[in-house]
Symmetry: C2
Subunit: 349 residues, 2 copies
């Protein structure tokens, strides 16, 4: 099947670019002796995770338990869940998963550690736990190196748990000083951080500037998106995922309506102008989205599309687009080569 | 099962409120002799569409072909697709659907009308087509009453099509003057608008102020959301859909992290402050979302939640939340009564 035969809106991945992106980051991290643990939340597809592992990744990262379950179902063995697992229902599933995969998780509070310890000890298992450190993001994570060392000590003495190291997201300016002081405090307590796990796509090519960080978790790099291009981490020509759309209305000379709305592109702006870049009409702006309508301002365009014309939209944020589609179509040039279910998508997992 | 046993994040609908919302709008529209054609894009669930029909709706509205196919599969007979159907693949499906449902669609250009006519005439079918009029939204739709009349005439003389009337969204200040002039021009051409279809939840209780409008399409009213409350169309106590979430981190005194991020709440702001209202902590603000994290500013709160605590979030925009969940849990009081698959969800349909 040729790409032109696909109905719209549809999310398409250029396989040549996907493969090149996987190879390029692996080569860079190999060159610098940094372990590669890609984040599968971007693609949520076991087959792409297997490509990353075949290229040299030591394991994968998941953002939620359900993603990890899907990856384990596909035979992936080494899985790091970078999320506080909270509550009896999830702890029960975590125990079941720990029986069949080499699992590690992060934690940022004694409450979370107590829950993990209770569940794992009762099951007679030992789980590797890394301390999540907030080194600048302002999301989860302990706030100081002292707190990191104290939580590490708590993990180390908790039945059913093994202290594994430190985790932060993203690796950035604050990471070095925080991690160095935390490592010093850990040494003073006689604790060893087997891993220091950093992450992020925008800063991936500077991972070697943080010698304390032993592994890198990048997700977006497999596909790339408008935000990654704006951050300077990838070029437009490396972006592998696009959404194909059809012009369904041209109500005025300056307005076009696409059949991709917030259900295809998401409402994520990430500081960008407009909700995606129309590759054939780069001067156009997707100014507003309804669920099924993308409203396009053509006032900056000399050439303008007609009703029925197909266009190619580079999304602002590829991870959320993955989650909105049940399948991703892999193409080689103009030919459809594979259709992947987005196996780990969905809010409920 | 009790509501407390549900794992989070999960989208829950209060069935008492859902039923009351359906009854209230039906009673209002009945009182004013306006036909009720609810928009199912909010819930995407055949069982709720059946409740709307049982209450007195004359049919349903769908925003895309795939939604209409799901409704027809459930035995729903009268379906209006308020969208330009463009392209051979979709026209083929439209023909198949027209063979098994009483279908009408909207169109806003000669290109769309030509496509519809070609497909329907070739199949030996007759499809009712309404002219979409832009009476203030600035999305799809013909721009003037003259253009509406001209397109109506085009539809009326197109093989396989029957002119059905006018459609606009939302019904608003510009609707009356536009529609009155268009109807006058239609009469001058000897054309009858069997239906004038308006829509929208924020303005639903003013539908009777537009006597030219013969049917009303509201979607959001079944669930209600923060935007509807802000618009004054529903009270907080009428909102039926919430997202249950768990506090997974309390990194600082003023920050909490919920396990509902943009994959559960969407990034839709709709002009509101924050990404949802935490009912137990109304002074809190959900200031930022990652895919799996809701970042909450607690600085305005005297009482503050602990790690592991469950909270109830009223979303900004319930329609996009529906699309993000594979199931919706219907509860009566604290008891789970039904679990509905969101059968018509997804970007691909």
């Amino acid at each position: 099947m040729q790409i032109d035969a696909l109905d719209t809106p549809v999310a398409v991945v250029d396989l040549d670019r996907l493969e090149a992106n996987i190879a390029a980051l692996q080569a860079y991290l190999d060159e610098h002796g940094i372990a590669n643990r890609p984040h599968i939340k971007t693609h949520k597809i076991p087959a792409i995770a297997q490509m990353q592992l075949a290229a040299g990744a030591i394991g994968v990262t998941c953002q939620k338990l359900g993603e990890a379950e899907v990856m384990a179902d596909a035979g992936i063995e080494d899985i790091f869940i970078t999320y506080n697992i909270v509550g009896a229902a999830k702890l029960e599933r975590l125990v079941a998963l720990a029986r069949r995969a080499r699992l590690s998780v992060s934690a940022d509070s004694t409450e979370v550690v107590a829950g993990l310890s209770g569940a794992m000890a009762a099951a007679g298992l030992e789980l590797e736990v890394l301390v999540e450190c907030d080194t600048g993001m302002g999301r989860c994570g302990v706030q100081t190196p002292e707190a990191a060392a104290a939580l590490a000590a708590r993990i180390a003495r908790s039945p059913g748990l093994r202290f594994g190291g430190l985790m932060t997201y993203p690796t950035g300016a604050g990471t070095g000083p925080f991690v160095r002081e935390a490592l010093e405090r850990l040494r003073a307590l006689g604790l060893e951080a087997r891993r220091v796990s950093g992450g992020g796509t925008p800063g991936m090519w500077r991972a070697h500037e943080y010698p304390e960080v032993t592994e890198h978790r990048a997700g977006t790099y497999v596909y790339g998106d408008r935000a990654t291009v704006k951050a300077g981490a990838m070029g437009l020509g490396q972006c592998a995922m696009t959404v194909l759309a059809t012009v369904v209305s041209r109500p005025t000379a300056e307005r076009a309506i696409l059949d991709c709305g917030s259900k295809a592109l998401s409402s994520d702006l990430l500081g960008l102008e407009g909700y995606g870049l129309i590759l054939e009409y780069p001067e156009a702006t997707i100014v507003r989205l309804s669920e099924e309508h993308g409203m396009v301002d053509l006032s900056g365009c000399n050439e303008r599309p007609a009703v029925g014309e197909r266009v190619t939209v580079l999304p602002n944020h590829c991870c959320v687009v993955s989650n909105l589609f049940d399948i991703i179509v892999g193409v080689r040039g103009e030919t459809v080569e594979v259709v992947w279910p987005v196996a780990a998508r969905g809010a409920l997992r």
